[in-house]
Amino acid sequence: MVAKLKKVKRFTILTHIIAWAVSLIWIIPFLGVVMASIRPLPEILNGWWNFEVFNPTLNGFSRAWNHPTAPLSRALLNSLIVTIPSTFIPILVAALGAYSFARFRFPTRDLLFLTIVLLQTIPQQMVIIPIFNIAISIGLWNNYIGLILVHTAFALPWQILFLRNFFSVLPVEVEEAAMIDGASYFEIFYKIVLPLTLPALASLTALQFVWVWNDFFFAAVLISSPELKLATQAIPAQMGRLDPNWTVISAASIIVMIIPIAIYVALQRYYVKGIVAGAVKG
């Protein structure tokens, strides 16, 4: 019995060691970027893990923030202007749509739903050329409204699937009772169903915000004016045609990635639930 306990203990210690070793490996690149962002270029070229010479500086951040070609001061604001509506509008539209799939029967319902679900697999490259042409013809090229509409539409397939699954396990008795009491469908939707859906909406918010903020491809095709460029576009613009100044580009990277990381940390529970919902529910 004692021998077995010792064996278990050794196994646990081993597992702990391996786990922490692996996590160290995973963290190191991030550690590197943080180090590089506060150290002058010569120190980085010598190896950021060397600390004999250590003169931290915030020059990288100020240069990235005020860069002549693509200042992050503007780019971050631009990304917010695009990301916030692109996060909230699809949720509303998807919720309405998902609700009708979950609560009603109508002709072509299942076929329509299946089509929408299948649309999830469509890559951005498949739609970008016609979207480019459409945006030009309705005057929404190089315009945030066009980009927001595109992000909204692109979010709908997976959000509708997600919410419909959520609605279908929501007990209907509450809604039915309200209907008996004479409430309209809209009232039921807004006053009863939506409040109960808040956890799911939190998941959608977290996932969609991060997705839109991180997007590069749609922005690259639809936004061209230098002052309109988004945060993700600012990074290659700051790298320019020369080898990167690692201090500046590391600082820029940190500024751009800190936002989605913050959202993830704040809404972690919901973010993870959102990702996992596909797996567990099957």
Partner: protein
């Protein structure tokens, strides 16, 4: 409350259907249509597809067959990406999920590993470029420490090594995803199964293979599907590092499509659409097949 109605659901669905039709459904059909036209707008059938396969940039198995280093063409590059990246990130994801289940502070470690999935892929590319730099990169420092310093170089500057460097780097980025899905899957396995196994005297190893893995089947299918799609659609990482170079050694389908559409004057929308369509057939095909298997089980 399944009411048979038309007006209300239609009303609720209208905004979604409108947006989906204009910005998703119609573009998909339109892209397929454009892929069948030449630059003057005349119908040429599958000419664009034939032209695409005729370009070494897209399809160059000769080098591969002769055992030479890349470039092998964008299609083959995506294929190699799948062959290397998929098993590695699935394996490491599962390993980490199992390892970190009972470890103190496991939640924090999992969050840290998952960061790779949360950051913009443009930044991911910058990080990869940084770790592979000759003097400033951690990979070369490691090589020097283990006595392989003579191999040190900027791995992303050379056609022989850039593809594999990017693929391995992308494993580091993406493993967090499979880890999180497997973690949830593990939590979903009822404890009773493990207790029964213990009572029956099954070893840890046996329990793992006979109970854990089969019960993780739905999770595995999700991980494989999403990872496959991610590998086929790689763009940002390749773009920010070498835009498909040097010499096309890191070209992938998404980047090639973008260049054909927006670099060429006049733009080659036809060939770009052909590449996009091929890409979609692959993503759709894989997804459909895997989802089918999941539904069956």
């Amino acid at each position: 409350m399944s009411r048979r109605q038309i007006k209300i659901p239609l009303l609720f669905l209208t905004p979604a259907l409108l947006l989906l039709t204009i910005f998703v459904l119609f573009p998909v059909v339109n892209t397929i249509y454009i892929s069948l036209l030449n630059q003057e707008g005349e119908f040429v059938g599958l000419d664009n597809y034939a032209e695409v396969f005729g370009r070494k940039e897209f399809w160059n198995p000769q080098n591969l067959i002769e055992g030479k280093p890349p470039p092998y063409g964008a299609l083959i590059h995506n294929g190699i990406w799948i062959l290397v990246h998929l098993p590695l990130s699935v394996f490491f994801g599962l390993l980490l999920a199992v390892l970190l289940r009972d470890v103190k502070g496991g939640a924090i470690i999992k969050s840290a590993v998952f960061l790779g999935v949360v950051i913009p892929m443009i930044v991911g590319g910058v990080l990869l470029r940084f770790i592979y730099e000759a003097d400033a990169g951690i990979v070369n420092a490691f090589l020097r420490v283990v006595g392989l310093g003579h191999l040190a170089r900027t791995w992303t500057a050379f056609p022989q090594t850039i593809l594999l460097s990017l693929i391995l780097g992308s494993v580091w980025i993406w493993t967090g995803f499979s880890m999180i899905v497997y973690s949830a899957g593990l939590e979903g396995i009822p404890m009773e199964l493990f207790e029964v196994a213990k009572i029956d005297g099954a070893s840890r190893w046996r329990t793992f293979w006979r109970i854990t893995v089969p019960m993780l089947r739905p999770a595995t299918i999700v991980v494989v599907t999403m990872t496959l799609l991610w590998e086929l659609k790689i763009f940002d990482i390749v773009w920010v590092i070498q835009r498909g170079g040097p010499g096309g050694a890191s070209m992938v389908m998404a980047v090639m499509m973008y260049l054909r559409a927006f670099l060429y004057i006049p733009s080659n929308f036809g060939t770009a659409s052909a590449i996009a369509t091929l890409l979609t057939i692959m993503t759709f095909g894989f997804a459909a097949y895997l989802v089918n298997r999941m539904v069956k089980s």
